[in-house]
């Protein structure tokens, strides 16, 4: 039983990091419907897995590879960042969704339909306890940074840019620079959570990177709230615990179709939650 709690706890923290990137930074600060931020998560997991499995990287070098992965995802995340300069609202969401599909197809082509498996963990992170400790440490560091960020004038710059790019530019705010930088930072953070996910699960299950999953996570980000530093943990908790409960419930009766049934049921729950949750009750 404690193993189950540990496993759920790791997932909550890893997805908490992901939601810090999606809900707090991209939705809350930049104001973009970055449905496809899951592509960065997937890239983080995929690139990390490529290191030991395709390039033969092992031992302490894996830490260097993790750093390379995060930098690589940060750079790749600048691509939707540049797209954001020309696209807003729904149009950006469509482009973002396309990014998820492109990455999913890429992962499937390279890693096969079941994704990579038996991805080695770096030395020192073999146990789940070590993974939860390092994940929690990273979560706290990032959460404190974002909390402090919200008290600087950078927060004002983002609020101004969210309201009107023209207004922001008229006050000398370099809109392009701050938006693209935000996409880079949020992408790097999503990539880091993807790396931790690959380390924890020792694989890159493509089901976790699907379009349906991206939409569910986006809806949860909105439901959890975009302004509080605790909201990502709430969203992550909702996601991990509900998924676990639904999969456990369906596993006996539907066997291999359990993940699909879970997704469908999860989608239904979200539709009802979004429909009956007033805007005011969504955590700020």
């Amino acid at each position: 039983m404690p193993d189950l709690y540990l496993s759920l706890g790791i997932k909550v923290i890893i997805y908490g990091l992901y939601f810090l990137s999606l809900s707090t930074l991209l939705l809350g600060k930049a104001g973009y419907w970055a449905v496809g931020n899951l592509a960065n998560f997937a890239l983080g997991a995929f690139i990390y897995a490529c290191g030991p499995l395709l390039l033969g990287i092992s031992g302490g070098l894996l830490y260097l590879w993790i750093a390379f992965t995060v930098v690589a995802v940060t750079i790749l995340a600048l691509i939707p960042g540049f797209a954001a300069l020309r696209l807003q609202g729904d149009f950006f969401a469509y482009v973002s969704i396309c990014c998820v599909e492109v990455v999913r197809v890429l992962v499937e082509k390279v890693a096969g339909p079941s994704g990579f498996s038996h991805v080695p963990r770096p030395p020192g992170l073999e146990s789940e306890l070590a993974i939860i400790l390092i994940s929690a440490f990273l979560f706290i560091i990032v959460a404190v940074w974002i909390d402090m960020f919200c008290r600087t004038r950078l927060e004002l710059m983002f609020a101004t840019t969210r309201t009107s790019k023209t207004w922001a530019a008229s006050m000398g705010i370099r809109v392009r620079r701050i938006e693209v930088s935000m996409f880079g930072i949020a992408g790097g953070l999503a990539g880091l959570s993807g790396v931790l996910f690959a380390i924890y699960s020792t694989g890159t299950d493509p089901v976790r990177f699907s379009l349906m999953e991206a939409v569910i996570l986006f809806a949860l980000a909105y439901l959890g709230g975009i302004k509080s530093i605790w909201a990502p943990l709430l969203s992550a908790g909702l996601y991990v615990i509900t998924t676990y409960a639904l999969e456990s419930a369906f596993r006996g009766s539907l066997q291999i179709y359990a993940p699909y049934a879970t997704s469908l049921f999860f989608g239904l729950i979200l539709i009802l939650a979004m429909a009956f949750t007033s805007e005011k009750s969504v955590a700020k």
Binding site: T152, L154, A159, R162, A169, I173
Partner: protein, 295 residues
């Protein structure tokens, strides 16, 4: 009434702030909107000037302001910020690449050029003092490292210190809010009236603008007393003779007692009329101008 061509009017003329060169024109597609004919003199707005852009609806006043603030490029010709021999000046040319939007660069030019819009822009996520604070840019925020350093520095500052503006600026912003009768304790600026939102935008511009203010219909929806306050603010703003104000205004009665230059737009032509005389002389001149322009 003495009517002068450019250069204008002030006896103690300040430095050149904006120069519109003959040949400047702007078109939407193939439809020409306005031009400064090659045969006319260049229009120079100097420190100490309060210049109004005047013309009928749809003649391109806001478009001219958009062009001057870098949101649009001229179709032909050029606009220059600062003296033409100034290495720090900015030139907006028709040949500038389409992707190069110089609005932020102009806003930061020489300490600050600020712009207000026809419809007041207010963010519900920013407090009243935050609105004022964000208008004054700090160079250190432009560096990417500030993203990492600013939050760490914030860790060691008191929670009461808001948004890292120094005490002098804080006092200055509070005086501005007081002058405009804006209550800084209002948490949601969306609850302000339309006129108050406009005043907040003007206060923002004055706080952030170190060199030039460009205001689109600043007196719209304001009470007579508020208009008088705003006019006095503009006079104080240009008093040091190194700053200028360019504004779009429809109501001619608001112009005579404080503007000293008019950019008129009629039949797609830009003209500069300098105003120098008593209030009554200027009123007579403007009403004559209105009747000759608009019938």
């Amino acid at each position: 009434m003495a009517v002068h061509t450019n250069p204008p009017v002030n006896e103690n003329q300040g430095p050149q702030i904006i120069t519109l060169y003959p040949g400047l024109s702007f078109s939407f597609g193939k439809t020409p909107l306005f031009e400064l004919p090659l045969s006319s003199e260049k229009i120079v707005i100097r420190g100490g000037d309060i210049c109004a852009v005047f013309g009928p609806n749809g003649c391109g006043k806001t478009t001219l302001l958009n062009l001057l603030s870098g949101f649009l490029r001229p179709t032909t010709g050029q606009v220059c910020f600062g003296p033409s021999d100034d290495a720090h000046g900015i030139v907006i040319k028709s040949s500038a690449p389409r992707w190069l939007n110089p609005a932020a660069k102009i806003a930061q030019w020489d300490g600050g050029v600020r712009r207000t819009f026809q419809v007041p822009v207010i963010s519900p996520d920013i407090s009243i003092t935050g609105h004022i604070s964000v208008a004054r840019r700090m160079k250190r925020e432009e560096t990417f490292t500030s993203w990492y350093i600013a939050p760490i520095r914030r860790l060691f500052q008191s929670k009461n210190q808001k948004y890292e503006i120094d005490d002098t600026s804080c006092e200055e912003s509070e005086q501005l809010l007081k002058a405009f009768n804006l209550n800084k304790s209002i948490s949601n600026p969306n609850t302000l009236s339309y006129g108050q939102k406009r005043l907040l935008n003007i206060a923002q511009a004055i706080f952030g603008g170190k060199r030039l203010l460009m205001l689109d219909e600043p007196f719209a929806n304001l009470s007579t007393s508020a208009i008088a306050i705003v006019k006095q603010m503009f006079r104080d703003f240009v008093a040091s003779k190194d700053r200028a104000v360019v504004l779009v205004e429809h109501r001619a009665k608001n112009l005579p007692d404080f503007t000293n230059g008019l950019i008129t737009m009629r039949d797609g032509l830009l003209r500069f009329e300098a105003l120098k005389g008593t209030k009554e002389e200027e009123e007579r001149f403007i009403s004559k101008l209105i009747s000759s322009y608009f019938g």
